[in-house]
């Protein structure tokens, strides 16, 4: 029963996450950008614009210029999250690639960094009056959810080690449509349930910034409006009607 519940939960969460993000990306891609609006100085070529977006994604370049504290905690959180996720690949891959083995200890350090960075970001949200002013309940909940996932993960690691062989069998079973029993440890079950919740709310929340940054016209457009004529489909129709 427990295994079946979690299996269905993860299928649903994964479906919502993937379909939700794809639907959102398709919607962004299909919505025309009628005017050239890169924030200048901007690269004049498509390649240059791609590099600019890559810099925002990997290094948070604009945020670095903007606010060193938010950059530090925000970047630390995201890199730590990436490492932690990569560490977890061992539950989904068999055999485990050597590089995944190699990063295992870094994934643990990263979990501490992740929790620390989230606490720091939360403290800013609570202590700085202008950031408190703009914060919504969902902003606090997102932090709480991520922090709870990180802390339960750490607690499993240090206080209530679970049968990780069985956990791996469960997830491989999910992927192979051959369900295997999930250990009934409370911390593990909490950790996994919270992850499923995060996956499911992702496409409906501000976590969408992960997709949005790729589609931001002020960052991803090359600065070439004098050299090329860009006309959105609806604007071209307007022009045809006019004549």
């Amino acid at each position: 029963m427990l295994t079946a519940t979690y299996a269905v939960l993860f299928y649903l969460a994964a479906a919502v996450l993937v379909l939700g993000l794809v639907a959102r990306a398709v919607r962004y891609a299909r919505t025309p950008a009628p005017l050239r609006v890169p924030t200048t100085p901007a690269p004049t070529s498509r390649g240059g614009a791609a590099v600019r977006v890559a810099g925002e994604v990997a290094l948070f370049t604009s945020l670095f210029r903007s606010n060193k504290w938010i950059w530090l905690f925000g970047w630390l959180f995201h890199v730590a999250l990436l490492l932690v996720l990569l560490r977890h690949l061992r539950y989904f891959l068999e055999p485990i690639p050597q590089w995944v083995v190699w990063i295992q200890p870094f994934g643990v350090y990263a979990a501490y960094a992740l929790a620390g960075a989230l606490l720091a970001l939360w403290a800013r949200r609570l202590l700085i009056d202008r950031i408190r002013y703009i914060s919504t309940a969902s902003d606090h909940l997102a932090l709480a959810l991520l922090l709870a996932i990180g802390l339960t993960g750490l607690a499993i690691k240090h206080f209530q080690p679970t049968d990780i062989v069985a956990v791996k069998a469960f997830f491989l079973g999910l992927m192979r449509l051959d369900w295997q029993p999930l250990p009934a440890d409370p911390l593990l079950l909490t950790h996994l349930a919270l992850v499923a919740v995060l996956m499911a709310v992702f496409p409906f929340s501000k976590l969408l910034h992960a997709v949005g940054v790729l589609f931001s016209p002020s960052r991803n457009q090359p600065d070439n409006p004098r050299e090329r004529r860009h006309v959105a489909p609806w604007a071209a129709a307007l022009e045809r009607d006019q004549r």
């Binding site: 959102r24 962004y28 919505t31 025309p32 950008a33 009628p34 005017l35 050239r36 609006v37 924030t39 200048t40 100085p41 901007a42 690269p43 004049t44 240059g48 925002e56 604009s62 945020l63 210029r65 903007s66 606010n67 925000g74 800013r124 949200r125 700085i128 202008r130 950031i131 002013y133 703009i134 919504t136 309940a137 969902s138 902003d139 909940l141 409906f204 929340s205 501000k206 976590l207 969408l208 910034h209 949005g212 940054v213 589609f215 931001s216 016209p217 002020s218 960052r219 600065d223 409006p225 004098r226 050299e227 090329r228 004529r229 860009h230 006309v231 959105a232 609806w234 604007a235 004549r243």
Partner: protein, 517 residues
Amino acid sequence: MSQDAFDAPPLSQRPEGLEVPSARPGRSAESRSHRAGAEHQEALGFPSDIPDDWQDRALARMEELLARNRSLRVYLDACVHCGACADKCHFYLGTGDPRNMPVGRQDLMRDVYRRHFTPAGRSFPALVRGRELTWDVLEEWFTYFHQCTQCRRCSVFCPYGIDTAEISMAAREILDATGLGQKYTNEIIGKVHKVGNNLGLPKPALEDTVEGLEEDLKDETGHDIRIPVDEVGADVLLITPSADFFAEPHVDGLMGYAKVFHQAGLSWTLSSYASEAANFAMFMGSYEHMKRIAERIRKAALDLEVKRIVVGECGHAWRVAYSFWNTLAGIGQGADADDEYARALQDQLDRRYPVPQHICEMTRDLVERGAIELDPEANAHHGGVTFHDSCNVARASRMGGYAGGQLEIPRQLLRASVPHFHEMADGTTGDATFCCGGGGGLLTDEVMELRVRGAYPRASALGEVMERQGVQKMAAICAICKTQFAKVLPYYGIPRETVISLHELVGNAVRLDRTEA
């Protein structure tokens, strides 16, 4: 004009790191633009009064805009409330009203978007602060979306590039559709559609003004420097903000352009039909009205059979010209072979020059080619000079063939035209420049307190170089900046004459020794 209803904040001694005020909700709520009356609404095809179904209309318009404008949709979704933008807006730094933080302003629309257009907001409004679009909310929109100069400083610093200008433009479109237009902007757009410029200056008046200027030029220089109007077959069509025809210090800039054209021996003309570079339709985000205004320039260029189009000193105008004219009216290059509409003009124009070309680009090229010579000593009497990067030039356009030319080319001209050039504090120039506080449709007296407070970051940086470097002039390349600074700098104890047109300095420096043909 009463100057006593409020005090300007004292200038900061640390303009590179201004103190961030703590949030004081409602601090700036009283600075409200006048509502457009019936005639100014009707002239633009907007409802003249508030229709009974205003909420349906507003939401319908919002839905349309979300479908036709990617930036709006992405920007409403992407914000994570990180707060990086919170201390970047000149209006927040000057007023402390949290609705003047970029995110605070955006959230006025974002909260409504969530409530009406997202599953999370429809189901759990309290969780994501979804807000029903009530009349009070719409009134708040009117107040605060008309406290944004659309300067894009927030966009530079946002990790996702979220541009409040895009959101305030959309908000103003929605307000227009519900009958809540802004008087200043809508009245002016009506004049452009009817007469061809923001001032409503008809051809005879324009010719008269220009004749007077030619006489002034003759008196000043002894040369017959012309300012031609409607000369068919001229090589260059100059499109300049109409403020250049009469306002101070703008008009000295126009005379500067004339000296450059004269000395370089270029044949040029103004157009009485398209006698306005500024395109205020951008302020309210209306693609249709922007297009209509831009098409006057296309028609003038075709009718006058010119080979080049040059744009005078104006910030938002240069953004529309550089970034949008090609899209809106085919004024540019690179249109497809089967794009007859754009080709009609593009095939007529000289491909060797960028279309449109900024007056600074043109003058710089003339200097580089040796067609004109500049003598900085001619401006020695001005003492030190600094340069104010206009927001829309710096962050929404380009000059020259490379990224960042819009920051360098005006400086190259200034350095060649004045003996002592000084930069203002880091973080207040280049693409981090602070807006003058009067752009985006706010150059209207009823929001004077807001304008003064919005100029606080720039005034602080200017005050510092005046005190420390002996700077006496701040050159600008935008009609709005010039008008705004001339009006608000005195509130900070800085003389209005401090602001000067870049091309006035260039004009002083040009050696006028061309042998008359």
